[in-house]
């Protein structure tokens, strides 16, 4: 089915859309609102002119903050033996450059002026010249790309901007989680996360509005700020449920009462009647939702479990595994490895799981240019750890780890000398 005019709409920026601004490796999630000033990389921008343009368009930021679609473009010595770094190669001073900027000179022209006033630019190797221009481009060109949000973009954004908010979950680790947990349309997934909603949103993206996602939350209410940034269509939210973990034990024991009356109902006469009515309706709605979610959980037939939080993963995992059907995957993320080692040990003792794996991933970026290809950056360890496995039917007759010890006997260290 080829594109036609009608399909075009979903690729164009609309008012109210949640988008991601990008320049180089810097991302920022914002909402397109008319005449609203948005700050990005120390610049004020109005996004009004983006409306109607295609996503992934690069815009120039004009003085005044308005956007204009950007037309793209992109030219030596032999080596650096005669180049002396005395800080005097560039003839333009900082003040000169500021004056040029004030005059409204375009980024491209500023860079041209810098090159023209560079005493030893011609002595640089061709590669060096390209690198110099690229560096200045980054600093002086006033462009921004507007992207449609996706798990990939938001995960990179959070990792770069606010890793603390997402328990330092690196985006390649998140990618592993989504695949290992077999997240797909139509399943029923349990999520416990304190990653600002990034993990929840990523799971919702992979479910496409089909099936259901139940967010188990600690404390007063579920945190979902990050989910908004994905810009999901309204009907996706129909698949999202929440359940407070403080009621988990009651639910498992079958003693959860979802018809509990409001303890403050008696005090209604002291409050304005209308307010009391609104409060009552809100509470009834809340109870209704709670009952509906409890019904989803009671069957203990969830298809997947994903945990990524600052809480100790062991009790969370042991508590929530009970809600899964047999032969279903679960994935637990932890910033640190030790809590997962404990989980591993507990799971071995309790039985009921197979294919346990404790892993982490390393990620290496490469610069690929003719005659200049080399690795750039290696990210390891700091991306967190994953414990994954699959549930099986619990066997109450045989003790766990009997015949199929998946772990060798405790090793004894060899001693060089005799024991004292």
């Amino acid at each position: 089915m080829a594109d036609n005019g009608d399909d075009d709409n979903q690729y164009r920026i609309k008012e109210g859309d949640y988008v991601v601004l990008k320049r180089g490796e810097i991302f920022k999630a914002v909402q397109i609102q008319p005449r609203k000033k948005v700050i990005f990389e120390k610049q004020w921008i109005f996004l009004d002119n983006a409306v109607g343009q295609l996503y992934s368009t690069t815009f120039e930021i004009l003085s005044g903050g308005n956007l204009k679609p950007h037309e793209l473009k992109d030219s030596a010595g032999t080596d650096n033996r005669n180049i002396v770094d005395d800080g005097k190669s560039q003839k333009l001073t900082r003040d000169d450059i500021e004056a040029l900027k004030e005059k409204g000179l375009k980024g491209q022209d500023i860079i041209k002026k810098l090159v023209d006033n560079h005493a030893t630019f011609g002595d640089k190797t061709e590669y060096s010249q390209v690198k110099y221009i690229k560096k200045k481009k980054k600093k002086y060109e006033n462009t921004v790309m507007i992207l449609k949000p996706s798990c990939r973009i938001l995960a990179m954004m959070y990792h770069g901007r606010e890793p603390g908010k997402i328990c330092h979950l690196r985006y390649d680790t998140l990618a592993q989680m989504l695949t290992l947990a077999n997240i797909h349309a139509g399943s029923k997934v349990l999520v416990f996360e304190t990653c600002a909603g990034l993990v929840l949103g990523s799971i919702m993206e992979r479910m496409g509005g089909y099936g259901s996602v139940i967010q188990m939350y600690p404390g007063g209410g579920p945190v979902r700020a990050g989910v908004e940034s994905f810009g999901f269509p309204a009907h996706f939210h129909d698949t999202l449920h929440e359940f407070p973990i403080c009621h988990v034990n009651a639910l498992l024991a079958g003693t959860l009462d979802t018809s509990a009356k409001d303890p403050t109902a008696g005090r209604a006469r002291f409050v304005c009647f209308l307010q009391a009515q609104v409060k009552k309706l809100r509470l009834e709605e809340k109870q209704r939702r709670l009952a509906a979610t409890a019904a989803l959980l009671k069957g203990r037939n969830a298809d997947g479990l994903v945990i990524a939080s600052r809480f100790h993963p062991c009790p969370v995992l042991l508590g929530l595994l009970k809600f899964l059907s047999p032969s279903r995957p679960f994935v637990v993320y932890s910033q640190y490895i030790e809590p997962l080692v404990e989980c591993f040990k507990k799971l071995r003792e309790c039985g009921g799981t197979v294919n346990l794996r404790l892993t982490d991933t390393w990620m290496r970026h490469y610069q690929v240019l003719p005659d200049r290809t080399h690795p750039l950056l290696l990210m390891s360890g700091g991306g967190g750890y994953l414990l994954s496995g699959t549930t099986v039917a619990t066997d109450h007759s045989k003790p766990a780890g009997s015949k199929q010890a998946e772990e060798p006997a405790p090793k004894r260290q060899k001693l060089e000398d005799t024991e004292g």
């Binding site: 089915m1 496409g208 059907s325 390393w362 490469y366 004894r412 024991e419």
Partner: protein
């Protein structure tokens, strides 16, 4: 059962995964009256499998194991290799970087043994479609057969042709294109034709740096932006219990009369749970 939808009970005609032990899984085509030989003994499909829950334990003459519902991840480690395959670590990264989700239209070449294909199908179901091209006729036929057995054939079209000469067989429909072929630079032009005119994502996976260089150049020439090259390596930690002996420095001269003799029993060692890494780590699969 299907690879894109869970079910609870094993039925005749299903493909089930026998989890024999860590790193030892076996696929089995469930058939009324059939038998399968395993290292733990023989299993009889009619009594041991059909009607049982996925996840249940199967006991044989020499031991027991569990039967699992198929997933693309289990399939990747269980499938019969006809070619070198992509493993879950790379698959997961590719899935995220290509922004695959329900409804995505994807073009892939070469299909190979179908490891990545199954993962793609799982992610794009129920409304997406996979156009996969495999130039080896027998492999194309075999993988098409498997898609049917795995009840995902409605989501995929297999074409037996050379993607570098004839492209993907579709125009302007793909959200994402994936290449795992010896000369991906020759397919970049065809990838562009297959992709939606509003743009899409492309990923090429190559083991050799020279291939990566040529491909990046071709991508740049053809107007692709935001080109990046990444390698992802998996490290698996072995959880072990180790026993570390404690040194004996002799009786502590500072202990007073009040301390009971049993206060400091001479522990021979301390046992703890820790992780160790394999001596050799798989160093490289490819760059994407």
């Amino acid at each position: 059962m299907s690879f894109v939808e869970y079910s609870d009970f094993i039925q005749d005609g299903d493909v089930a995964i026998l989890y024999l032990s860590h790193n030892n899984v076996m696929p089995v085509k469930v058939q009324q009256g059939a038998q399968t030989q395993t290292r733990y003994g023989v299993i009889r499909h009619s009594t041991d499998l059909i009607g049982q829950r996925y996840g249940s334990k199967v006991t044989c003459s020499k031991g027991w194991f569990h039967v699992l519902h198929p997933t693309p991840e289990l399939w990747t480690v269980a499938l019969p290799h006809r070619t070198q395959i992509l493993y879950t670590t790379d698959i997961a990264f590719i899935t995220m970087m290509l922004e695959l989700k329900p409804g995505s239209i994807v073009c892939e070449s070469g299909t190979g043994s179908g490891s990545l294909s199954h993962a793609i199908l799982r992610t794009i179901a129920p409304t997406g479609h996979l156009h996969t091209v495999e130039f080896h006729q027998q492999r194309a036929e075999k993988v098409a057969e498997e898609f049917k057995e795995h009840r995902v054939d409605h989501l995929v079209t297999v074409r037996n042709q050379d993607v570098c000469k004839d492209g993907f067989g579709v125009t302007g429909v793909a959200d994402a294109v994936f290449l795992d072929i010896p000369s991906p630079w020759d397919a970049v032009g065809h990838a562009k034709v297959a992709m939606k005119k509003h743009g899409g994502r492309l990923c090429s996976f190559s083991p050799c740096i020279e291939q990566v260089q040529k491909t990046c150049e071709a991508l740049q020439d053809q107007g692709f932006e935001d080109i990046s090259t990444t390698e992802v390596l998996l490290r698996e930690h072995d959880v072990r219990t180790v026993s570390l002996p404690l040194p004996d420095f002799g009786p502590d001269p500072e202990t007073t009369e009040e301390a009971t003799p049993a206060a400091a029993p001479n522990h021979a060692s301390i046992t703890l749970k820790t992780t160790t890494l394999p001596r050799e780590m798989p160093g490289h699969t490819g760059l994407g």
